[in-house]
C-alpha cells in the first residue's frame, strides 16, 4: 500500500545516469510521441467544443485555436435536458461513492482484521464479478426496476454502478486496513476505547487518504459508465446516456461539447489520485 511511484526512482536513477546520450534522446523522443498521442485528441475535442458550428465545418482546419468562445459551450448547456442530465450524472456518481464505501469498507475491514469461515467464499464472490461483463446485467433489471419504481431514477442507476465499484472498494480497503498496524487499535482499547471508538478515532484518520482515493475511483466508474445507464433511464438520463441517445441527431459541435464535459472531471480526478494509482491497481488486480 505504501509503495508509490516515488519509491521506484532510486534504482531507476542509476540506470538513467548510465544511459548514453543517444539512447536518452531516443527514449525522450519515444516518450514525447506517447505524450502527444494521449494529449492531442483531448486538445482537438476541446477545440471542437469551443469552436461552435462554424469551427466544425471549417476546411481545411488549422490545429491552432482561432475564434474560440464560451458561447458554443453555454449554448450546449442551455439545451433542454443537458443540465438535468449533468445533475443526474452527479447524483448517480455521488450515490455510487456512498454505497460502495459504505458496503465495501466494512467488508474490507473484516477481511483485513478477522479470520472467519466463509472468508474464501466471500473473496471468490468478489473475484467472480470480474469475469462477467457487469454492465450487461442491467438488461434483466429493467423489468424488476420498473416494478420497484427504481427505473428511470439516478438512484436505480447508482445501484448497478455500485455493483461495478463495490468489489474494487472491498479489495482496496482490505489492503488499506492491513497496512495499519492492529497494535494501534489495541492500544486504544487499553486506554478504554470501545472497538467502534477505536476505529473512528485511530484507524479512520489513518485510512482517510486511501478511502478518498477509493471514493474518487468509484465516482469515475459511475461518471463514465454508458451501457447500464442508457438501459435503465428514459427521461432522467445521465450525461453519458443522454449523449448516446442524441448521437445520431445532434450536430457535431454539441457532441464535442458533451465529450469535453465528460473528459474534464476524469483528468482532474486522475491527477488527484495519481499517487495512489499504482498502489490501488496493484491491489485490485491481484
Amino acid at each position: 500500500m505504501t509503495t508509490t511511484a516515488a519509491d521506484l526512482t532510486s534504482p531507476a536513477k542509476n540506470r538513467a545516469m548510465a544511459l548514453p546520450s543517444a539512447r536518452r534522446l531516443l527514449l525522450w523522443t519515444g516518450l514525447a510521441v506517447l505524450i502527444a498521442w494521449v494529449l492531442v485528441p483531448i486538445y482537438l475535442v476541446a477545440l471542437g467544443a469551443f469552436g461552435g458550428r462554424l469551427g466544425v465545418f471549417r476546411w481545411p482546419k488549422s490545429i491552432w485555436p482561432s475564434d474560440l468562445s464560451f458561447a458554443a459551450m453555454s449554448q450546449f448547456l442551455a439545451i433542454e435536458g443537458v443540465f438535468n442530465a449533468l445533475l443526474n450524472s452527479l447524483i448517480a456518481a455521488g450515490l455510487t461513492v456512498v454505497f460502495s464505501i459504505a458496503l465495501g469498507a466494512p467488508a474490507g475491514y473484516a477481511l483485513a482484521r478477522y479470520t472467519f469461515r466463509g472468508q474464501n467464499a466471500y473473496r471468490l464472490l468478489v473475484l467472480l464479478t470480474r469475469a462477467f461483463p457487469l454492465a450487461i446485467l442491467a438488461l434483466p433489471l429493467t423489468v424488476s426496476f420498473i416494478r420497484l419504481g427504481l427505473y428511470d431514477t439516478p438512484f436505480g442507476v447508482s445501484l448497478i454502478h455500485t455493483v461495478l465499484a463495490l468489489p474494487f472498494a472491498a479489495l482496496v480497503t482490505q489492503s488499506l486496513f492491513m497496512g495499519i498496524p492492529r497494535e494501534y487499535e489495541e492500544a486504544a482499547w487499553v486506554f478504554g476505547c470501545t472497538r467502534f471508538q477505536a476505529f473512528i478515532k485511530v484507524i479512520l484518520p489513518l485510512a482517510l487518504p486511501g478511502l478518498a482515493a477509493t471514493a474518487i475511483f468509484a465516482f469515475v466508474i459511475s461518471w463514465n459508465e454508458v451501457f447500464a445507464a442508457s438501459i435503465l433511464t428514459v427521461r432522467e438520463r445521465t450525461l453519458t446516456a443522454y449523449l448516446l441517445r442524441i448521437l445520431a441527431e445532434s450536430p457535431l459541435h454539441y457532441r464535442f461539447a458533451g465529450g469535453f464535459i465528460l473528459i474534464i472531471p476524469s483528468v482532474l480526478f486522475i491527477f488527484a489520485v495519481r499517487r495512489y494509482l499504482f498502489a490501488v491497481w496493484g491491489i485490485a488486480s491481484k
Binding site: 498521442w37 464479478t129 496493484g282
Partner: protein
Amino acid sequence: MPARTSWIPYALIAPSVIFLAALFLVPLVQTVWLSVSAGDGLSLENYRRMAGDLNFALAVKNTFLLTLVVVPLQVVLALAMATMVTKLDKGRDLVLWVLTIPLGISDLAAGLAWLALLQNTGYLNSALYALGLIQGPVGWLSQETPVALFFAIVLAELWRATAIVLVILIAGLQLIPKEFAEAAEIFGARPWTRFTRITLPLLKPSLQSALILRTVLAFEVFAVVYALGGRNFPVLAGEAYVWQNDNQNYGVAAAYAVLIMAISLAATAVYLRVLRTRPEQLP
C-alpha cells in the same frame, strides 16, 4: 494473531453480500432465465431469432476481430510504455500522470475525441489535404469504408484503454526484485534477454489480470463504436442495446447478454489456465 471468530466479521460483510446477491447473482440468473423463456414455457426461440438476425454474424465477427486486434496491441504498447517509464529519472511522475489520463476517460468520450480527429472535415483530412494527398474532405467512418472505420475504432480503443494495462503492469513491475536483473547483467545478459527471460515470466500474474480485465471489457465494447460509426459497425453489446431499447424485445437482448457472458467466461478460463503461475515460481 487473528482475532477469535465472532459475529462481528459476518455483520461487516453481510450488507455487501446481500447487495451483491440482489444485484449481481439474481440478475445473472434472470438473464439466463429471460433468454430461454418465450411466451409460455422454455424454448430456444430467442436464440433462434438472435442467430437469424441479419446483423448477428457480422456482430460476432466484428467483436472478435476487434478484441483479437486491440488486446494484444494494448499489451505490447503498455509493455513498451512501462519499460520506457522505468528508465526515466527526471519527470517520471509527470509523464506517468499524462500517460494514465485516459484511464479516467469514458469510452463514449474517447469515441467523440477521435470523431473530432477523423470526421469528414476533421484534422486527419486537413493534414492529408495539406500534404496534398487528398483533394477535399473524405469520409472514413461510413458504411462504404468498413476497413477505415475498423481502424478508427482500434485507434480509439488503444488510446483509451491502454492506460489500464500500463497501470497494472507497472504495479506488477514494482514487485519484481531488482537483484534479478542486476545478477543477469553481471552474467552478461543483453537487455532483450533480461526482458524475455526475467521480466516477462515474473510479470505473468500481472499480465494475466490485465488480459482478463481487458478481454472481458473488449467483448462488451459499445460506446466507442457508436460514437464513431453509429450502427455502421455492429457489435454484440450494441445489438443487445438495440433489441432492448429500440425493439423492446427483452428476450433476444438477454440471449445476446448470455452469449457475451459465455464468451467472457470462456476467455477468463483460458487465461487462468494458460498463464497460471505455480507458487514456487513466484519471487
